[in-house]
Symmetry: C2
Subunit: 86 residues, 2 copies
Amino acid sequence: MDYIELIGFTAAFLTTAAFLPQVYKTWKTKDVTALSLPMLLLFFIGIVGWLVYGFLKNSPSMIFANSITVVSSFFLVYFKIKYTKK
Amino acid sequence: MDYIELIGFTAAFLTTAAFLPQVYKTWKTKDVTALSLPMLLLFFIGIVGWLVYGFLKNSPSMIFANSITVVSSFFLVYFKIKYTKK
């Protein structure tokens, strides 16, 4: 692994680690009032775009980071829809 | 601009657009209780890493997206420190 990917994986680890507690907190508290569904959907579609971009640029660290984030942001969308009071 | 960068810029626009309202909301409400300083710092350092990675990979869309996010996440760190009740 070259030093460029080492920087990429460090960045991937940090940004993913900073995002996961939000997912965990939402799952535990079921409090989705602070989350906006349109923003979550924009973010989710954007992450799918970054994942595709990572494949096209042959970037292992982007593929790694965005694979995790695409799953975790999908959970946020799901929680938002499931836990929003009718 | 090739189609790979078109996908990258679309992703950049979506994820940046989804992040900015959080910064704006924090600035207006001065409510930083839901934000965690260690997580914000991890995220900020991670974004700096992605920015460096974008330069090394010659990725205009990553440089664009992470330049905006490095500034906006810096503001979140600043707001968290400034508005946390002593």
